[in-house]
């Protein structure tokens, strides 16, 4: 088997090869590590590589396979976004604040993936504290999009998406607070799933906005995402907001049948603001599902327009409190020679946090401060309910909702850096899903000028199965998801 075949293999196929003993976990792991070694200089997708630890886990996986002791991800290498705490492995969250931070505990997702036999290769670059849509806010430098090194990979899980697209790992994890899995998945041409809020434990994931954050997988196929979702999901006694619901075997639940599936197309997503080229790609993808038996239905989400304002109050407000713990006292960055306590706070925080993080802390603090709580925070929480009820009503008529994942393809570095609001618009199609706590998925829908574009599928609460099914059917009938960036062939 050639390396490139190996590197483009899906979890599903690698798993079969491992079980058939055609290949060993150590071989796949080494290939991934070599790929990281070769490409990371150009891409900057990975912050920390755990080579020795990975080889060690791979060998253990190979022994387990030899014994016939096989779990759902035994021997499959993966990269975690550097927002998941990893016991004994530096966890930076893309920030100078946590440049040297080594947790004494694992995130539940990390524990679960490990229990399923996955082999952790290392930690992926990301926007600082997951605040960004281009991966330009990372203290560790921007991540390059493997489809065009002059372009951003999206964010905040940009390192994960780029690493996956570049063949550094067949499976990566991300988190999505306002689009941070779906938008980079769209920009890097991979499949990314944000599960329903509460499906996956948040314990050990460095918090951005607690009522919006949700972890999920990114992989080459919807089927791989289904496998990974089952592995990472479930109630966690350590997370009060994790849902007490059984976890289906999402892979077993996959079928190709979309006959009679009603797909809602929100008028507000397909209005004149949508780039016609993006609309064309999205409609072509949807027509594939239509031909397979699905019905496209026009729907309304009349308050969609308010999602961005709502989000940019709630997320910064929660973040302003979540990030108060970074004070230079117990862990993380501490300024040199503080002259007193106030100096310690002020300098540790303004030197340790980057510009975008500081901006959001300021906005959030403002929205919660005396005299503004009702006008901003409380109001945003009310509008959040209004937006959620739009979805609830729509789901009375349709089984899922579809739209673009992002307004366009990957843009050039610096293009939106001067204007925070322009950058925030990257997430206009994804934010509302987080506000309502719904599952959302981005699947490749072809290329525009050789750059990938994504189709977003939105499901009912805890109905990841339906959107995984639809994506799976789409991926059965098309090969957009198998597209690989030029970068891969040039460097390998």
């Amino acid at each position: 088997m050639t390396d490139s075949a190996l590197l483009c293999g899906s979890v599903t196929s690698l798993r079969q090869q491992l079980r058939d003993r055609v290949i060993s976990s150590e071989e796949i792991t080494r290939a991934c590590l070599e790929r990281i070694e070769a490409c990371n200089g150009a891409l900057n997708a990975v912050i920390t590589v755990c080579a020795e630890q990975a080889i060690d886990s791979a060998r253990k996986a190979d022994k387990a396979i030899a014994r016939g002791d096989v779990a759902s991800l035994t021997g499959i290498p993966l990269l975690h976004k550097d927002i998941f705490c990893t016991n004994g492995v530096r966890t930076t969250c893309g920030s100078r604040m946590l440049e040297q931070f080594v947790p004494a505990y694992d995130a539940t997702v990390v524990t679960k993936m490990q229990a399923e036999g996955a082999v952790m290769l290392g930690k992926c670059n990301m926007d600082e504290f997951a605040m960004g849509s281009s991966n330009e806010t990372s203290f560790f430098g921007a991540v390059k999009n493997p489809w065009d090194l002059n372009c951003v990979p999206g964010g905040s899980s940009g390192g994960s998406a780029a690493a996956l697209a570049a063949g550094m790992a067949p499976l990566v994890t991300g988190t999505d607070t306002g689009g941070s899995i779906r938008q980079p998945a769209s920009l890097c041409g991979v499949t990314g799933l944000k599960p329903t809020y509460g499906r996956v434990s948040r314990l050990g994931i460095i918090a951005f906005a607690s009522s919006l954050d949700q972890a999920g997988p990114m992989a080459r196929t919807a089927e791989d995402c289904a496998i990974a979702l089952t592995a990472m999901s479930g109630i966690d006694a350590g997370d009060s907001t994790s849902a007490d619901l059984p976890v289906p075997d999402f892979q077993a639940g996959l079928n190709h049948d979309v006959q009679g599936l009603r797909i809602g197309l929100p008028r507000e997503y397909f209005n004149d603001d949508l780039d016609p080229v993006v609309r064309e790609r999205v409609m072509v993808a949807l027509s594939v599902l239509e031909q397979a038996g699905a019905t496209l239905v026009d729907i309304e989400l009349p308050h969609s327009h308010y999602a961005i304002a709502t989000y940019y109050v709630i997320a910064p407000a929660e973040a302003s409190a979540n990030l108060a713990r970074y004070d230079g006292v117990r862990f993380g960055y501490r300024c040199d020679e503080p002259k007193d306590l106030e100096d310690l706070y002020l300098r540790s925080r303004s030197e340790g946090f980057g510009e975008e993080v500081q901006r959001r802390i300021l906005v959030g603090t403002y929205a919660l401060s005396a005299g503004f709580y009702d006008a901003y925070f409380n109001k945003a929480q009310q509008v959040r309910r209004v937006i959620t009820e739009d979805f609830t009503r729509a789901f009375d008529h349709v089984d899922m909702i579809a739209g673009p994942s992002a307004p366009g393809v990957a843009f050039q570095f610096g293009a939106k850096q001067q204007d925070p609001v322009a950058m925030y618009m990257e997430d206009i199609y994804t934010l509302a899903v987080n506000l309502a706590g719904l599952p959302g998925l981005s699947t490749p829908a072809g290329l525009i000028n050789s750059m990938p574009v994504g189709l977003q599928l939105i499901g009912k609460p805890f109905d990841e199965q339906t959107i995984l099914n639809a994506a799976h059917r789409l991926q059965t009938d098309t090969d957009w998801h198998m597209g690989t960036p030029q970068f891969t062939t040039v460097t390998s």
Binding site: S210, D239, S240, A324, L368, Y373
Partner: protein, 483 residues
């Protein structure tokens, strides 16, 4: 000018749970610094709170104990401020929807009357850690062992007019929470800390004056002193035409003054908002009834019952009831056959004195309730005079067995046997013919005086064990028979 003090109290009560409110760390007092603080307590990245069911149950118990309304749906909020012993930069508390809503708490005053205090609310929150200022020369040390200890903050309306009322409330509250078993109420260890909101107004006026808040007063005595000293300070200012600054003050017990806390550079703006890591606590009627079923008899009811059933006076009842163990001890003495009033007298008198001398708690009393009952039975049946009873009590205290054993061993029995007494009387009369003659010749008034001589002789002969009343009766009869 004549001033009226208006006060409301906020009590921070540490709940006696095994583990912290949001983590599985122990709450034991006195561990080495930071050894009882886990990743949640330290506010480490990615950590999340999970609510301790016992903290919720204790809060509901308290609410039911004061007849307050229990919030059907209470919510945790984040209170945001920076301080080194506040690990997350926010305290998880309840601001918008507390678990215990309005109620009324009846406080017994010294004169036996009940004084109703309106409780505004009581809410659950986490404690902060401790800043240690004196252990290092140039730094402050932070110990987060206490961080995350469950607190119930109990807030009253401004219903207090005197230090005496405030202290009576705190004592009654202490009694209630120890009865409920929700807190050890140990003020010295900080299990019960009191903030006093205090303002003055001209007597006869209604408007509230500008108040100050005296933080963290940690004993009943200091509460009383702090109130007096703050009253003096405010009255001086007002009388000299000044105005009070609304601020937080600390009570300095050594100097007996309150001091302004260094004013913070940033005015407090706590930016409360619902804690997204926790969901609403929903408490239904079934849960409330289940908790209600576990409530013990509370101090108010017990006081009333002691007065009605045991015929105790207000004073005795008021002294016995607040300490649950003392009240239980009293009832055990009565159950074991000791009469109620003497039992109360012995417990509140000699026993309490002995316990205090030895710095012992009633629960560790060397005299068991059954033993004290045994002593009281022997007094009531005339076996022991009050003088002998004290000797037996001392014997009980030093572990010499129960009352009957001590009476037996020391031969302390009061002689009430008429045959034995008769022969003693006969012997004394026979041995003192001159005094008998004098007696017989005297008039009635003098006779009474002279009979004392014979009683003294008999008591001496019996080593004090003769029953004085019986001796007296027998003697008069015998002397009169001589004539």
């Amino acid at each position: 000018m004549s001033w009226e003090t208006v006060m409301g109290l906020e009590v921070h009560l540490q709940l006696a749970t095994q583990s912290k409110i949001f983590s599985g760390s122990a709450t034991t007092f006195g561990a080495a610094p930071n050894e009882q603080a886990d990743a949640v307590d330290l506010g480490m990245p990615g950590m999340l709170p999970v609510l301790n069911e016992e903290a919720v149950r204790y809060a509901v118990k308290f609410g039911l104990g004061i007849g307050a309304r229990i919030g059907e749906r209470s919510v945790f909020d984040r209170k945001n401020y920076f301080y080194p012993d506040l690990p997350k930069g926010y305290q998880v508390s309840q601001f918008f929807a507390p678990i215990v809503c309005e109620g009324v708490f009846e406080v017994p005053l010294k004169d036996g009357t009940l004084f109703p205090i309106r409780i505004t609310r009581a809410h659950l929150e986490e404690d902060a850690g401790k800043s240690v200022h004196d252990a290092f020369s140039r730094e402050t040390g932070i110990d987060l062992n206490r961080a995350g200890t469950p607190l119930l903050e109990i807030v009253t309306e401004p219903d207090f007019r005197s230090a005496e009322q405030a202290v009576a409330y705190l004592k009654a509250l202490h009694s209630l929470v120890t009865y409920l078993g929700i807190s050890d109420g140990n003020m010295a260890e900080g299990s019960m800390r009191c903030d006093i909101n205090i303002s003055l107004r001209e007597k006869g006026t209604d408007a509230l004056g500008i108040r100050t808040e005296i933080k963290n007063v940690n004993s009943f005595r200091f509460v009383e002193r702090a109130i007096h000293s703050e009253y003096e300070r405010q009255a001086d200012i007002l009388e000299s035409g000044g105005s009070i600054t609304q601020e937080t003050r600390l009570y300095d017990a050594e100097q007996n003054v309150t001091r302004s806390m260094r004013s913070k550079e940033v005015a407090n703006d706590y930016r409360y908002f619902p804690e997204p890591d926790l969901l609403p606590i929903v408490i239904d009627a079934e849960y409330i009834e289940a908790v209600r079923a576990t409530l013990p008899e509370l101090p108010g009811a017990k006081r009333a019952r002691f007065i009605a059933d045991y015929r105790l006076n207000d004073y005795d009842a008021a002294l016995l009831v607040p300490n649950h163990a003392l009240a239980d001890y009293f009832e055990s003495v009565v159950t074991a056959g000791g009469a109620a009033k003497p039992a109360a007298n012995w417990i509140l008198g000699d026993l309490t004195a002995a316990l205090n001398r030895n710095e012992t708690d009633i629960t560790d009393s060397p005299i068991s309730a059954a033993q004290l009952a045994g002593l009281i039975v022997r007094i009531e049946d005339g076996t022991l005079s009050s003088k002998l009873a004290k000797q037996v009590f001392d014997g009980l205290w030093s572990g010499k067995g129960d009352a009957d054993q001590i009476i037996e061993a020391r031969g302390l029995k009061q002689v009430s046997d008429s045959g034995a007494l008769e022969s003693m009387v006969d012997a004394v009369i026979a041995e003192n013919p001159d005094q008998v003659a004098q007696y017989l010749a005297a008039d009635e008034a003098k006779k009474k005086k002279l009979s004392g001589f014979f009683v003294g002789q008999i008591m001496k002969a019996s080593k004090g064990q003769a029953n004085p009343q019986m001796v007296n009766d027998l003697l008069l009869k015998k002397l009169n028979d001589q004539s």
